[in-house]
Symmetry: C2
Subunit: 461 residues, 2 copies
């Protein structure tokens, strides 16, 4: 084992080194992310228009393009202490296995019961709801990481939590459902007969197993038709990326502490919450002209928003009840083929990340799922952690890069985000273990169908 | 939140504070645990007799009653660094919830993919097998924590791993099985047609769903009939308790670092691996007359080895292929009712712990499963961690004690072992959530049947 002097396997910060402020990268962006539009008028949505759906303070955070640092309330800091700081791990065993001169680090966000980074924003959103005197929150969940995280946060604060879980996941992932119930959440398979939009969908499509878009519509209706409830979302939004900057800020503190200069920062990208949180402080340095990094977003080849999508205004949901956001998108009607990284199957992408990508501050790579599971399995066997399929995407590109370094001799320092664990994804691992997993890359014709559904917005190309 | 000055939520030691030696509590015991006996002759087993089954160095550790400290090889220390030191957590949120003056700490061993403390001994046993030039190891697993841990250790060292998994668990816990396969282990449902003993059992009991005793028999046959293989076991044995002392040693270092004096140390007890590891350094102080602690073993009321068993020589397995051990036992023929804490369903108990209990150095309490799940759920909601049902037993007694302190006003310092996570136990949580869980306490007549099967050994009462 090639151990660097003074650099431990795991860099754990002290609790006093947990960030006390989130970093709002928009403050340093010259080209701000485009505002959310009202689909009816095509005009930017105001705080007043957003407040019936989202908590008041979260609306402020959503719209704030100027304040660089936003205080983390003490109660949220206390909750963070229960599972943070998360370790920055030096992948000594992986480096040895790959026989690479590259130095590989990963920020591991899976050491909590929700199994992922989602908890960082869940507790913040639940906290502001509680502070506003609300009775509870509603949300949707697909793979279940977000729903689990929100259930945990609500249990801690004594807030009611109503989760609409895509019906097919509800049935295929009963364990995820039970974790949420154990934390006291009510979990309703979507579409349900519980909401008007659910009943309509059930009538129109009898026997449907649901979709994220449909679950969003039900969760929004549930929030807006019940006094004291608001809707919360686990990715895509600016506020979510803001909360997730605790990942990047801790990563930077840990690297600085040991005088480590990363060359390349890699993260998987679905809606962008983890990647945005990880890279924000580093992108801030780039925007301010202080440093330069190679930043890489990794997405599934089956749902290639960045690498093959269009930068355009689009609906965030298939049900078209949500505002329009400007983002790299495959069209809200695009249906990705079955890909086990449920967290990466979103048709669009965070507006912040979309703008950064458009401005050339980051790159993107698309990888196929079988190669992801191969890398994830190899990683698990030497590093001990069983990664979530989403995280496997970042691992795949980090390993590719480390192998390239072996060939060139380059001593590159690579940092990637290991967003979560795969304990609830064993059906996918089983398919891979049994050699029954396949890849699907959408054809240009399939993509065109999605683009054909993009909304008409004044000024849109 | 009532935060003590200077005591963080989580006490993380540095990697240089991971123990470099295991502590062998037998060296300080005046009454040594009784030796393993050859069932054929009734005489103590020699190293030569044990070496065809176990690795050479592990046999030495098994028989060594004298050496107080045994060096941890550097390769094992390196592996420990991947997931150790584990945090000692101050349960501030639980204290607040219970409104208790007690101070509660837990040593959390679940932050690794095997989800439990089992990895501490798995890597040690795999290492000695590798060092001896063996091709692989065999073992049995019930609930799957041990099999998972061993698979991880073998993957890391490039050792073949053959797991016999109780058939009913193989079918009911497919995710556990897939984790092991992902780590490259072969997993065979037991009884199987793969071994002679398995074929015999299948013939005698067609349609049987297997038992731990049967899986042990198959694993031992597999090891002894294949060149270059040995059998390894995850609990009960002296060597396993020795490896698990990293838990107690780290706990003691963390407590000493912050000048915390525990009054009460609590752990769940099945075969005794976690409890023995946690308490050994503290019991050592008691044995040497330096300090005094109240030590409590918690077992399920459905399988009450300590509280209702006999201290006698008995077989470690139902198939009677293993040596005789002197221990608190319900008889190798005792079949506990379905209790979801699979790791606590063993009829016997570690010889070391049995001797300590017999000598009055520790107490034992039996708790019912519904009360355990109630406590585990309450714990999860405030502390964030979803506990394994086994760990829930320790939580239940810690919470009872903290509530008692609320009534008496006593500022007791309680430390308990949180051995693992419950991600693969959601079927049990679901039963509890649905109100479908029940308790079963064996009658005296049921226990007598088990005692009637105790073997005749010279000198046995």
């Amino acid at each position: 084992m090639k151990l660097d002097h003074n650099i431990p396997y795991k860099i754990y910060l002290g609790e006093d080194e947990i960030p006390r402020q989130w970093y709002n990268v928009r403050a340093d962006m010259k080209n701000k992310p485009a505002p959310l539009l009202d689909p009816a008028t095509g005009k930017p949505l105001t705080a007043e228009q957003l407040e019936p759906i989202f908590c008041k303070e979260l609306v402020q955070q959503e719209l704030d393009d100027e304040t660089p640092y936003i205080d983390i309330p003490e109660e949220i800091q206390d909750f963070y202490k229960m599972y943070r700081p998360s370790p920055l791990v030096r992948a000594y065993c992986l480096e040895k296995k790959l026989d690479t001169p590259a130095r590989i680090y990963y920020k591991f966000e899976g050491n909590n019961t929700s199994g992922s980074h989602k908890l960082n924003s869940a507790i913040a959103q639940a906290y502001y709801a509680k502070k506003q005197g609300l009775a509870g929150v509603t949300t949707e969940t697909g793979a279940g990481q977000w729903g689990t995280a929100l259930s945990m946060a609500c249990a801690y604060l004594g807030l009611d939590c109503r989760v609409f879980m895509v019906k097919v996941s509800y049935e295929q992932k009963p364990f995820r459902r039970e974790v949420m119930r154990t934390y006291g959440a009510s979990v309703t398979p979507s579409p349900s007969m519980h909401t008007e939009v659910g009943r309509k969908i059930c009538e129109a499509f009898p026997g449907t197993t649901g979709s994220l878009g449909c679950a969003i519509s039900e969760a929004v209706e549930e929030a807006t038709t019940h006094k004291g409830y608001r809707y919360v979302l686990g990715s895509v939004l600016n506020q979510v990326l803001l909360h997730q900057t605790v990942i990047g800020l801790e990563t930077k503190t840990a690297l600085d502490k040991y005088d480590i200069q990363p060359d390349m920062i890699i993260g998987c990208a679905g809606g962008g919450s983890n990647l945005g949180g990880l890279i924000s402080p580093f992108v801030g340095e780039m925007l301010r002209g202080e440093k330069d990094y190679q930043i890489v977003a990794v997405e599934p080849a089956s749902c290639p928003s960045f690498t093959r999508g269009k930068f355009a205004y689009d609906f965030c949901d298939t049900g078209h009840v949500c505002p329009l956001a400007k983002m790299y998108t495959l069209g809200s009607g695009f249906i990705p083929s079955a890909n086990h990284a449920g967290g990466l199957r979103f048709h669009g992408m965070s507006s912040i990340l979309s703008q950064l990508y458009h401005d050339g501050l980051m790159q993107a790579r698309a990888v196929e799922q079988t190669s992801v599971f191969k890398a994830a399995t190899e990683f698990a066997r030497v590093e001990g952690i069983l990664p979530a399929p989403e995280s496997g995407h970042a691992i795949k590109v980090a390993m590719d890069e480390a192998i390239r370094c072996r060939e060139t001799g380059e001593e590159k320092t690579i940092v990637f985000g290991l967003t979560g664990t795969g304990y609830f994804d064993m059906v996918a691992y089983q398919q891979f273990n049994d050699g029954e997993m396949s890849d699907h890359i959408p054809t240009d014709e399939e993509l065109q169908k999605g683009f054909d559904g993009l909304p008409q917005v004044p000024g849109q190309d």
